[in-house]
Symmetry: C2
DNA sequence: GTCTATAGTAAGATAGAC
DNA sequence: GTCTATCTTACTATAGAC
């Protein structure tokens, strides 16, 4: 590879990395192109040699995250029959989701803000929620087929779980607001989603 | 009251009402001052005779909502001892929250977007979440004092519930995305938060 | 108080030298 | 490919006539 090409790749990577920082620092919508280039130590114009706009940059970050998520999923091998009413299984799912979100907080933040940017009327946030919780939904539908009585429509239940997770990720990660370690947060969410406020029947 | 004053009050109200529409239509951040004045059928400049900026207008809408919420709360009379592990009580709480959010969707939308606008680092969304779920938290802390074993830290559990509710409100209301009636949504959330995915012990 | 017209500002995006 | 300099656009906010 030529020297020029290497330089270009470096700049590209520097811009992406700077964007990650800035998205967490300022939020996605609030991050200006100049914030990114400044943080990367490049000139404003250089941005446009690599990306057409902020959305395109985000799309590439998203691809990375998807690859990462897929890897983690297939590593553990996820058949549809995973039983979400089993504490170990549920805990592992929530833990994985939390882990991937933390590793890709800038992307989570950006997607969330982007989905909200068009307003509630657009239905874009709902679409995101449904897409991102497809796995939960599959597991829930399987349970239902097995005769298990769910709290309600699997799509809604899955979306509710996803909404809880992503909002908390946004609110907690990066600000360390709660002071609680990740383990404890995942434990709490597992308990809440498994047996609810009432707790397991046996006291 | 003089004619001039009446006219002014009318314009003021028209601007607020137009803002409500626009916030739901376009989202809060995306709504420009000119969108509001245009929707209200007034000139751009008139906006500034009544509000210094968008945030101030929102603050007034918020006051209305608080009054409304307070009224609904004191109407039902909410002592700290309300037992959230009792289905009827939990259902009534969630239903009330859902109802107030629907009646004030523009405000919910705006506050949510506003809280996210500063980015995750600011901790503003977490702050909102904690503030808005104070009531849940109180009830949960009471339960804990009574020896009931909660899923985890009451602050976190309450915030998780609030995050789930507000995200779903944003995603569902106004787009009617799910096709489900409000009753069914509240029922589902009640079941999920009361006994979790596993459901009540007795099958 | 409300309007029209416009000044001011911030950010996205491009042109052209190196 | 990267830079500096600049054009363009969209919006906020104000000035001044009515």
């Amino acid at each position: 590879m030529g020297v020029r090409k290497v330089r270009a790749a470096e700049t590209r990577a520097a811009l992406q990395e700077a964007a990650r920082e800035q998205f967490v620092q300022r939020g996605f919508l609030n991050t200006k192109i100049t914030d990114i280039t400044a943080a990367a130590g490049r000139a404003t114009g250089s941005f446009y040699d690599h990306f057409t706009d902020k959305d395109e940059l985000l799309k590439e970050l998203l691809t990375d995250m998807h690859a990462q998520a897929r890897e983690r999923i297939t590593a553990g091998d996820h058949p549809r029959e995973h039983d979400l009413t089993d504490r170990a299984h549920l805990h592992s799912h929530l833990g994985a989701a939390w882990h991937v979100m933390r590793a890709n907080l800038p992307v989570v933040v950006a997607l969330y803000e982007q989905a909200m940017a068009d307003g509630p009327r657009s239905g874009r946030l709902w679409q995101r929620l449904v897409e991102d919780t497809a796995m939960f939904r599959d597991h829930l539908e399987y349970l239902r087929e097995q005769g298990h009585r769910l709290p309600g429509d699997p799509v809604l239940v899955a979306a509710a779980m996803g909404g809880m997770l992503s909002t908390l990720a946004y609110a907690i990660m990066g600000s360390g607001a709660t002071g609680l370690p990740d383990d404890e947060i995942v434990d709490t969410l597992t308990s809440l989603l498994l047996h609810g406020l009432a707790g397991p029947a046996a006291k």
